[in-house]
Every structure is written in C-alpha cells, then in structure tokens.
C-alpha cells in the first residue's frame, strides 16, 4: 500500500513537471505602428505590412493563435518584461545590450540602414567631416541612433525622435539635413511619398546589427524554440518569399 502511494505520488510529481512547460495556445505579439512597410494601418484601420503577414504565417506554422498588440517603441521592452505581451515582432534589431534583457530568435530579416536628405545637400555619410554643422535625425534608441551618435556627434547636431513619423516630418519641414533611417522605411516614407522628388538617398547604405529577430522574455526558451522552427520552415517552403515579394522588389531574407 505504502509503495503504491509512493509510486502514485511520484507519478503525480512527474506528470506535473511534464506540464510545467507552458502550452502556448495564444501568443500576444507587440508591434510599433506605423513603421511602413513592415507594419502600418490599411485605410480601413486594420493592421497590415510585411511583419504582420510574416507573423501570421509563422503563427499558423506554430499552430497557435496570435494577437497583435500595438505598443510604442520606447516602451516595448519594459512592456514585454511586464508581461503585457509574450513576444516582440516589431523590427527589433538583435544587439548585445538588448540581449541582456530579452531572448532573441534567429534573425528573420535584415535591412540596410540608409541616409536620406534634401536634393540640395551633398554629403558623404562615410566621411563625417562632410556633415560638419548639419542636423542629423534618428529615432531614439535605434541602432541608427547609436551609429549616428558614434560617428557624427562630434561634428554634427544629433536630433532624436520618439516616433519615426516625427522624424520624417522634421525633414520635410526643413529642420533636418540628414536622416539616418532603416533603408526600406526611408524609401517608402520619404522617397516614394508625396513630394518625394525633393529628397534623395545620400551615399551607400550600411549594414548595422545582426538582423531583426523575435524577442521574448528570457525564461520563455520554448517559445523562441517554436519561433525558430516555424521561421526556418516558412523560409524554406516559399511562404517567406511570397510575402517578401508582396512588399519589396529586393530580398530582405536573412
């Protein structure tokens, strides 16, 4: 009798540890809107964009239900740690500082960083001396901000913005001379937007960071594992390329 009880108790303990790994039925994904063409609102108000489509495809692959939660960029990591959502799917570049706070998946895309400015301006982004006395804008806390601060803060004035659209607004309003921005975002919000003829890409692009990954809380290794597996599958089976082709005429696959 005693033995069966012990065995039973053991079985209960064992089975309870087995279900300890959280079953993910619903995964809440945070996204900072707008960040065209990765995530933005369609005229009817619904979320759309490359990452929204990719995220939905990945969730389908993982067989979980995904909910998108809109969250401003500068609070996106604290929000994750405060469990307002389970993962960040919002063009977050993988870097060492962030990896101290969150767990990243494998990169799912990497876009170059571009430099944008009015037609009249003539600078070489790789020669900081040519930016002397100019105003350089970047979104606060991004790798572009870090790059601009490291390279230009000694010669130029760095202006940091909380939102990407404020940054573009100030370029259009003539308050900025150079904008350091994710290249595809710059092309779609500056060059291809209304009145885009007045602006151009300055010099060559640079590759910054290790690409963009899904970020989750450090303890949710199983979730990241799921993401890695699903991302690998969609990259293989053509779903990724299909979504890529829908938004870009060049590949951003990594």
């Amino acid at each position: 009798m005693k033995k069966t009880l012990v065995a039973l108790f053991g079985a209960v303990v064992l089975s309870s540890t087995a279900v300890q790994a959280k079953d993910w039925d619903v995964v809440r994904l945070a996204v900072d809107v707008p960040y065209e063409p990765f995530e933005y609102r369609a005229p009817d108000g619904s979320l759309t964009g490359f990452e929204i489509d990719l995220g939905n495809a990945v969730c389908e692959e993982m067989q979980v239900k995904c909910e998108w939660i809109v969250q401003a960029w500068d609070g996106i990591i604290p929000g994750l740690l405060a469990r307002k959502y389970d993962a960040i799917f919002s063009s977050m570049s993988i870097n060492e500082e962030r990896a101290k706070k969150v767990l990243f998946s494998e990169a799912y895309y990497n876009t170059p960083t571009g430099f944008f400015g009015p037609q009249a301006i003539n600078v070489d982004p790789f020669n900081p001396e040519t930016l002397k006395g100019l105003r350089v804008g970047a979104q606060r806390g991004t790798i572009q901000d870090v790059y601009a601060t490291e390279n230009y803060s000694s010669v130029a004035e760095i202006k940091r913005y909380t939102a990407g659209d404020d940054l573009v607004n100030d370029l259009r309003g003539g308050r900025l001379d150079v904008v350091v921005l994710d290249y595809p975002v710059g092309v779609s919000t500056i060059i291809e937007a209304d009145g885009g003829d007045a602006y151009k890409v300055l010099g060559d692009n640079v590759q910054l960071g290790e690409g963009v990954g899904v970020a989750a809380r450090k303890r949710d290794t199983d979730l990241i594992e799921m993401f890695n597996k699903a991302l690998a599958t969609v990259k293989e089976n053509g779903v990724y390329d299909e979504i890529n082709a829908k938004y870009f005429d060049y590949s951003i696959k990594k």
Binding site: I77, P78, E97, R140, G141, N169, G173, G174, R175
Partner: protein, 240 residues
C-alpha cells in the same frame, strides 16, 4: 568633492559622469525654458488682465477668446501645432526668421509663453475683479483717474491676492515643460528619455528625473512661501 563624486560614478553602470552631465544640461534647459516663459508670460498677462476687465465689450471678449483657446486645449497640442505648423508657412524657410524658428527652442518657448500668459491673465483678472468696492470708491473720491487708481490701488492689492494661485501656475508650468522633449529639446525629461533608450532602464532614468523635478518644486514652494510671508503679513493672525 568633485573627485569623490567622480569616483562614485565610476562604479555605476548607468549614472556615469557623462550621463549626469546630460541630466545637468537638461536641468539648465528646463530652468531656462520655464524661467523665460514665465517672465515673458507675466509681462504679457498684466496688460491683458487689465484689458480683460475693460468695460468695452470688444476688448474684453477678444482677450477672453485668447485665454479661452489656450486654456481650453492641451499644451501638447498647442506645441505640436506651433512647432510643426510654423515650418509649413509659405516662404518661411526663405525668410530671415527661419534660422530662429528652425530650432525647436523658439517655437517651444512661444507655445509655453502663450499658454502661461492665458492662465496668468485669468488669475490676475480674478484678483482685479475681487478688489473691494470701497477701495475704488475711496480712490475716486480722492479724484484719482482710472489709470492712477489701477496703478496705486487695484494692482498692488490684486498682486497680493493673486500670489497663491500664481505660485501654483509656476509649479504647473515647471511640470508641463517636460513635454518639450517631444520636439527634440533635451530638457530633464529629454535627458531621461535618452538615458532610458540607451540602457533600457526606465526606472532609474525617470526616477532620477523625478528627483530633480522634486528639488526644483521644493525650491519654488519655499521661495513662494517666503514671498507670501512678506506680502501677506497683514493677513496673519495676531500672535503673542
């Protein structure tokens, strides 16, 4: 002293010497911005408050409209409209004013001045209206003109009455100035946002900023208390 602080900071991940200097620059910016907007706002508010009590319907109502608009909309919206709006005025980018309004500083100061002027105008108007009827009648009986009566009788007592409400406005202005950081000005809040973005440490960054604001508020409260003690001496209860 300086060396001990430097040593202390060397052992801290977030509050390094450069971070603290950033906060210092932010503090200077906040104090400068708030001080200037309060002074200019005050200078504007006194004549506006007098006009606001005018019996001329048109003068009275037009000042009322100004205060109504600026008290009836959030300061953040006013700042956005002025800061982004000014860049889109036709020809402004070619005009001589552009180098000035191109900087975020002047449009921000402009928004703050108009906002605090609107509130201060209404504070002073209330104080002017509350002047004792008898005091004005006595002044008239002495043959004072309206202007002289305003200068000698109404305004001095109105300022005394307005002081407690005005000290609130000063503190509100200090706190409201934190929104300057949304238009790239690095004030205390702007410095906190930068530090936060660099170290992903919202708690430390904003707590430090809050402490600086608390110190500033304490100085203001203390200053106004001393001022009230002086100006409201006649209102204190008789003590032994």
């Amino acid at each position: 002293m300086y060396e001990t602080i430097e040593q202390l900071l060397a052992n801290n991940d977030i509050f390094t010497l450069s971070t603290v200097l950033e906060y210092w620059d932010g503090l200077v910016m906040t104090v400068q911005l708030v001080f200037l907007s309060l002074i200019i706002g005050l200078v504007l508010a006194i004549p506006l408050a007098i006009l606001r009590t005018s019996e001329n319907w048109l003068v009275n109502r037009s000042v009322w409209l100004f205060t109504y608009i600026f008290r009836g909309t959030p300061l953040l919206i006013q700042l956005y409209i002025i800061y982004y709006g000014v860049a889109y005025i036709d020809g402004i980018q070619q005009s001589m004013f552009w180098p000035i309004v191109r900087e975020a500083y002047v449009p921000t100061l402009f928004a703050f001045v108009l906002n605090t002027a609107a509130y201060t105008t209404e504070i002073f108007r209330g104080a002017i209206v509350a002047t004792g009827r008898g005091e004005i009648e006595a002044a008239m009986a002495y043959g004072m003109s309206r202007g002289k009566c305003m200068r000698r009788i109404i305004l001095p007592s109105a300022f005394r009455r307005a002081l407690p409400a005005y000290s609130n406005e000063v503190i509100f202005m200090l706190h409201a100035s934190s929104i300057a950081s949304v238009v790239t000005i690095i004030d205390i809040t702007g410095a906190a946002r930068d530090v936060y973005a660099r170290y992903y440490a919202p708690f430390e960054a904003f707590t430090f900023a809050a402490l600086i604001y608390l110190c500033l508020t304490f100085i203001l409260v203390f200053g106004f208390k001393q001022w009230e003690k002086r100006w409201h001496r006649h209102l204190r209860p008789l003590s032994s």
